[in-house]
């Protein structure tokens, strides 16, 4: 197997490592979905994955294209109606980790997936929040994963789709949110966690082969680093193999449909 890997693969694998067997994970589609399933297929076989379509304890063999693909239901422990999902399972406080992506993110973990420009007169109308506004406050912690870009990681987001640490410090407590909020950011270049006081996302681990310049050049805010900065270990053979086989199976399954 080719042990060379790209930054996307590094991102997904680094994110997967942050999950454990005892987590109950509310999974967003895209990068979060891949990371969660790699975790399940490698070191955390007992992790509980929940998709907002109502599928609880799902174990897909291929990556779903949407949050409601058939594979999710077929492999789930049970599938509940969507109102129950949001009421009993998310709002009920049963989720340990809400795993989100972002179109725009600021350094306090606030996310915008609603609109670029003015809400009433948008430059780009994005899909909107979906489950995110309540995932952000009901899940015990939030992990965020996204590729770095100046367009994505910005000083000021255009719209507060979901609340991270707000203006930082104790802002969450100030508005009576009792959950931890964004506690981990995994990009294609580094791992970030909030500064214990200011709550500003701060790099604690740089992926192998990445420079500080690369991180700053693709981030719209002034990047800070923890003192005991680490290097993220590159993907192991088993991690890479699992990820690539998963992507291959997924591609094949989709092709099977296309070639009709």
């Amino acid at each position: 197997m080719n042990r060379e890997y790209n930054s996307d693969e590094m991102m997904t694998i680094a994110a997967s490592r942050a999950l454990s067997n005892s987590d109950v994970c509310f999974v967003g589609i895209g990068a979060p979905s891949a990371a969660c399933n790699i975790a399940r297929m490698t070191h955390a076989p007992d992790i509980t994955l929940i998709y907002e379509s109502g599928t609880i304890g799902t174990a897909p063999n291929i990556l779903p294209l949407s949050i409601g693909d058939g594979e999710l239901c077929e492999t789930a422990i049970t599938t509940v109606a969507v109102p129950e999902m949001f009421r009993y399972w998310l709002q009920g406080g049963r989720i340990t980790i809400g795993f989100l992506g972002a179109a725009q993110l600021d350094k306090f973990g606030n996310i915008n997936t609603t609109v670029i420009g003015d809400y009433g007169n948008p430059k780009t109308r994005l899909p909107g929040g979906g489950g995110a506004p309540e995932i952000a406050s009901s899940a015990n912690q939030i992990y965020i994963t996204m590729k770095q870009s100046l367009r994505g990681m910005v000083e000021k987001i255009d719209f507060f789709t979901s609340f991270g640490h707000g203006q930082g410090n104790e802002n969450r407590k100030d508005i009576n949110i009792s959950t931890l909020g964004p506690s981990l950011l995994i990009t294609d270049l580094a791992m970030w966690k909030p500064d214990p006081v200011t709550k500003e996302f701060t790099v604690f681990s740089i992926h192998e082969g990445v420079s500080k310049d690369m991180i700053q050049d693709s981030c719209g805010w002034n990047v800070k680093y923890f003192k005991d900065l680490k290097i993220t270990k590159s993907p192991t053979e088993i991690e890479l193999k699992t990820l690539r086989e998963l992507k291959e199976r997924t591609k094949k399954a989709n092709l099977a449909q296309d070639n009709r």
């Binding site: 239901c73 599938t79 109606a81 949001f86 009421r87 899909p127 009576n176 989709n254 099977a256």
Partner: protein, 286 residues
């Protein structure tokens, strides 16, 4: 009591210009055939509701039939943005629709409250989120026991709900299995409903706690095999992911959109859905 009817007649008897209507389905069992029939009948001035408006809402908007949309996530699932929705909101083509935007949790609670006959739903939501600044249908309410500030949204009570389901029995009881979405709530919250089904059987013969809508909760049932395509019907056919990816291209341009609608919606009828799923039937892969 549910009446069995052709989709064409059913739509014309159910939906009126200016109505508030939902075509629900959460990736699974999306009622494409019903939406296309509405397009053919050019029923307009609609307020359309859906948690996850996707391709059919892009189509209704692009065809100029929509006045307002109430929603929580307007995307092409797994693919990207909705081009016709964007064109309307960003450029006003063919008209600028009004939007009332919520979160999934708010919409789910609001459908539930509608089904439960309540005027509003309360939940713990929108904490620190900006939607409550741009949507006047998000209000505060205080728990009279703890003093906690909760959020209230009005319940959803559409004039008409369209859903697609796996089976109806001959009496008109309807079975939904797999990913259930908010379809049961949508039907129970609505004044009228039309259900398209893959199959009509003598008896449902299902699990005692399966999701069944009794015949007297439904206005009309139409037998439209394949009626969810390119969405899927568990036990019948798989999701046509390629169509969703293709839609991104078709909808990116006003011209190609109109042409596609002409060829694939306006010039055909509900019968075509059967053939569209022929090669996606589950037994091909199992």
């Amino acid at each position: 009591m549910a009446e069995f009817i052709s989709l064409k007649e059913g739509v014309s008897k159910t939906l009126n210009k200016g109505d508030t209507v939902c075509f629900e389905g959460f990736t699974h069992l999306i009622p494409h055939a019903s939406a296309h029939e509405v397009v053919r009948q050019k029923i307009d001035d609609l307020t359309i509701i859906r948690m996850t408006p996707d391709v059919i809402y892009d189509q209704l908007i692009g065809m100029g039939l929509v006045k307002k949309m109430i929603f929580s996530y307007a995307g092409n699932p797994g693919v990207g943005l909705l081009r016709r929705f964007r064109d309307s909101v960003e450029k006003g083509w063919p008209n600028k629709i009004e939007i009332e935007e919520h979160s999934h949790s708010a919409m789910a609670h609001a459908y539930e409250a509608g089904a439960a006959g309540l005027p509003c739903a309360i939940f713990r939501g929108y904490m620190g989120a900006e939607l409550k600044k741009v949507n006047s249908n998000i209000k505060k309410i205080e728990c009279p026991f703890t003093g906690e500030e909760l959020t209230a949204v009005p319940s959803l009570k559409p004039d008409v709900a369209f859903i697609h389901a796996q089976k109806a029995d001959k009496k008109g009881n309807v079975l939904i299995e797999g990913i259930l979405g908010v379809q049961k709530e949508a039907v129970l919250a609505s004044k009228k409903s039309l259900v398209t089904v893959e199959e009509i059987v003598d008896t449902l013969d299902c699990h005692p706690n399966a999701t069944v809508l009794p015949d007297w909760t439904i206005s009309f049932i139409s037998h439209v095999p394949g009626g969810a395509h390119p969405s899927y019907a568990r036990g019948y056919y798989k999701r046509d992911n390629a169509c969703y990816i293709e839609w991104d291209k078709i909808a990116s341009n006003r011209e190609t959109f109109r042409e596609w609608m002409e060829e694939n919606v306006l010039k055909v009828d509900a019968e075509v859905f059967k053939s569209r799923v022929e090669k996606l039937r589950e037994d091909r892969y199992e």
